[in-house]
């Protein structure tokens, strides 16, 4: 469930646009006003505001925000204002660039979005970058990472709940076989993880646990230094229990010496409208402190206010 709070009495987009212009006017910027508006509108509403703003002011709202804001607060506002598909396309593209390269973010987007949402990301990627997502991912990865990530971002998984238990049994066996021989990037492992529907994969992993005594991720911890294994474990987590995955990302971002703002911003802005409620519950359960308190303790100023407004 989403944590985003939208006012019961919604102002017209033209009113919001007027308020935003006021926020940008003059010497400083009224950051609180920006938070009050943008952090309390859902995606269709924000899209409408952007459109209205462009018509009224002749400039993209994002361009104005970029001019007026800075640092982590700017990034949080920009990311949140974007339409979800565009946002993911932006993050994915960032992940293929040399200095901001990240296989994790690509995996996260590919595995935690619904098949339909993922395809919208691919469409948005075409529109924005005049290339396909898979061609950039393929071009910027090599070896087992390419073998894994390209099918992962290209998948259009079946969304039904139907499950074939016989298949689940046989595929659990295949996984077991490959893992025990340490063939972690074997074609069969990749095939199962990147093409099966989430329901089917869940059934397979449940059977794995029942039949072999350990959850698959436990068996995949055999080599703690293997980076590919880490990615594979995370992908499996994203596909089956995303709220646990996001809790971990948040925990590591906050506990890290100095805070990983990019990770924190990414999780909050991408999940506020999706499943932040469950992530918060998971966070409290695991850390014995609410996410709000943790964020307040670790961040400050407008950035803190923006994040808290969203969760």
């Amino acid at each position: 469930m989403a944590t985003l709070k939208v006012p019961a009495h919604l102002p017209a987009p033209s009113e919001d646009v007027e308020q935003l212009r006021k926020a940008f006017e003059g010497w400083g910027t009224n950051e609180q006003l920006i938070i009050d508006i943008l952090a309390h509108r859902n995606a269709p509403q924000r899209n409408l505001i952007r459109k209205t703003y462009a018509e009224a002011c002749g400039e993209d709202l994002l361009t104005s925000l970029e001019k007026e804001l800075s640092s982590d607060f700017e990034r949080a506002v920009l990311l949140f204002t974007l339409d979800p598909a565009e946002r993911d396309a932006y993050l994915a593209n960032e992940s293929t660039k040399r200095f901001t390269s990240s296989n994790w973010i690509l995996m996260e987007i590919a595995c935690t979005r619904s098949p339909h949402e993922l395809f919208n990301v691919r469409k948005a990627y075409h529109a924005r970058y005049k290339k396909s997502l898979e061609e950039d991912v393929a071009h910027h990865t090599t070896g087992e990472y390419r073998k894994f990530l390209v099918p992962l971002v290209s998948a259009f998984r079946y969304e039904g709940e139907e499950v074939n238990l016989t298949l689940a049994k046989s595929e659990a066996k295949i996984l077991r076989d490959k893992i025990s021989h340490k063939h972690y990037s074997d074609e069969e492992v990749i095939r199962i993880v990147t093409t099966r529907s989430k329901a089917q994969l869940n059934a397979t992993l449940n059977h794995y646990n029942t039949a072999f005594g350990n959850a698959i991720n436990k068996d995949l911890k055999a080599d703690p230094k293997d980076e590919f294994l880490k990615l594979l474990r995370a992908a499996i987590k994203c596909l089956t229990v995303p709220e646990k995955y996001f809790e971990k990302v948040l925990r590591q971002a906050i506990n890290k010496l100095g805070t990983d703002e990019w990770a924190l911003t990414r999780v909050v802005t991408t999940r506020a409208e999706v499943d932040m409620v469950r992530i918060k519950e998971e966070y409290q359960r695991r850390n014995s402190v609410t996410l709000e308190k943790a964020i307040a303790g670790d961040t400050s100023g407008d950035y803190e206010r923006m994040l808290l407004a969203l969760i």
Binding site: F119, S132, E134, H139, S154, R191
Partner: protein
């Protein structure tokens, strides 16, 4: 004369009836009998032409419904017996003395009669459903039909392919990539799964430098084909399964510039890769080839089925100009309602091409 009459007269006796009327009636009956014999003789003489007509109506692609109707409406069963005796490619002499349909002929006829029905159904189908069903069939049949998977994945637009994937979900409750990955063993798996998963960019923007360097990579892979099969080369797969079609056409041109040959010339042994490149870069050549193969004398059933498949692909506009080339061959080898459908669709394509 008098003697006979009087003898006859005497034999009949007291009724006093003349024998002449009886003789007259007997003569009439004899004449009728002889004329029927004569008629069946004339019918006997018409049989060879009918045998030929039947042979022609049931050979080739599709069936000539009109000729069949004209033969069958001659109801005399003797007539049909002579036809059966005359058509040795459809009827064999059974050991118990009757002419029996040859089993393989029955099989063939089932296939030929079905063609029109398939053409109708496929043409009316939504393109998404059509492609999903074609993909499933090709997958089920195995390696000899993998070319169809390549054809669909590479000649449809990105959104048409997405539609086919959606329809596949609805029809088969699985994703096409999961079924492909499960059932295709061997080196083709990577290529086919990647082709079907692609959502290629469709804008015209092309980077010439990238095209040049990728042409070089392809050339290298093809020159090394004795050491490693190009279909197993990661970079070959990457380029062919992720780049946009305009980009690949540029790569095709660059390749010609630097090597003096076309990419497909170096890939004669790798049929699937060759077809991939043809479909992506020169679809017209590919479709012409499919038509040619289907209309050859020694075409097998899979080759012929391509005709029905391409008929419904006409919307793709890839069949422009093909009608002229093949109209004569189609007239010769294809029959009946099925032929009318083919020619009609090709003519439509010609018209829309001119529009």
């Amino acid at each position: 004369m008098t003697k006979i009459t009087s003898k006859v007269y005497i034999n009949v006796g007291r009724f006093g009836v003349s024998m002449a009327p009886f003789l007259f009636i007997a003569l009439v009956i004899l004449r009728l009998f002889l004329s029927t014999l004569h008629n069946s003789k004339t019918k006997k003489m018409a049989h060879p032409a009918d045998v030929q007509l039947l042979n022609k109506a049931l050979s080739g692609i599709g069936v000539d419904e009109k000729s069949l109707i004209s033969i069958l409406t001659k109801t005399h069963h003797e007539h049909k017996r002579f036809i059966r005796k005359g058509c040795s490619q459809f009827f064999i002499e059974d050991e118990r003395q009757f002419e029996r349909w040859d089993d393989s002929a029955i099989k063939n006829l089932k296939v030929e009669f079905k063609r029109f029905k398939d053409a109708v159904m496929l043409s009316l189908m939504h393109p998404w459903e059509r492609d999903a069903r074609l993909l499933k069939k090709a997958l089920k049949k195995g390696p000899q039909l993998y070319g169809v998977i390549v054809e669909i994945a590479c000649t449809r637009s990105s959104d048409e392919l997405l539609g086919a994937r959606k329809a596949y979900h609805s029809l088969f409750e699985r994703s096409i990539e999961e079924d492909l990955a499960t059932h295709v063993k061997g080196t083709e798996r990577k290529l086919l799964v990647a082709l079907v998963s692609a959502y290629r960019y469709e804008g015209p923007k092309v980077k010439e430098d990238t095209a040049k360097s990728e042409a070089k990579e392809l050339l290298q892979a093809i020159n090394n084909r004795d050491k490693r099969k190009p279909i197993e080369d990661e970079e070959v797969i990457r380029i062919l399964t992720t780049r946009s079609k305009p980009h690949l056409r540029e790569v095709y041109q660059q390749y010609k510039k630097i090597s003096g040959k076309t990419i497909t010339e170096g890939l004669e042994a790798e049929i699937l890769l060759k077809e991939t490149i043809e479909c992506l870069c020169t679809p017209h050549t590919y479709f012409t080839k499919v038509f040619e193969t289907a209309l050859r004398e020694d075409a097998n059933e899979d080759d012929k089925k391509a005709l029905t498949r391409l008929v419904s692909t006409q919307e793709a506009g890839n069949l422009k100009g093909i009608s002229d080339k093949f109209a004569h061959k189609i007239e010769e080898r294809v029959k009946g309602a099925y032929k009318d459908v083919l020619l009609g669709v090709l003519a439509k394509g010609q018209m829309s091409g001119q529009a």
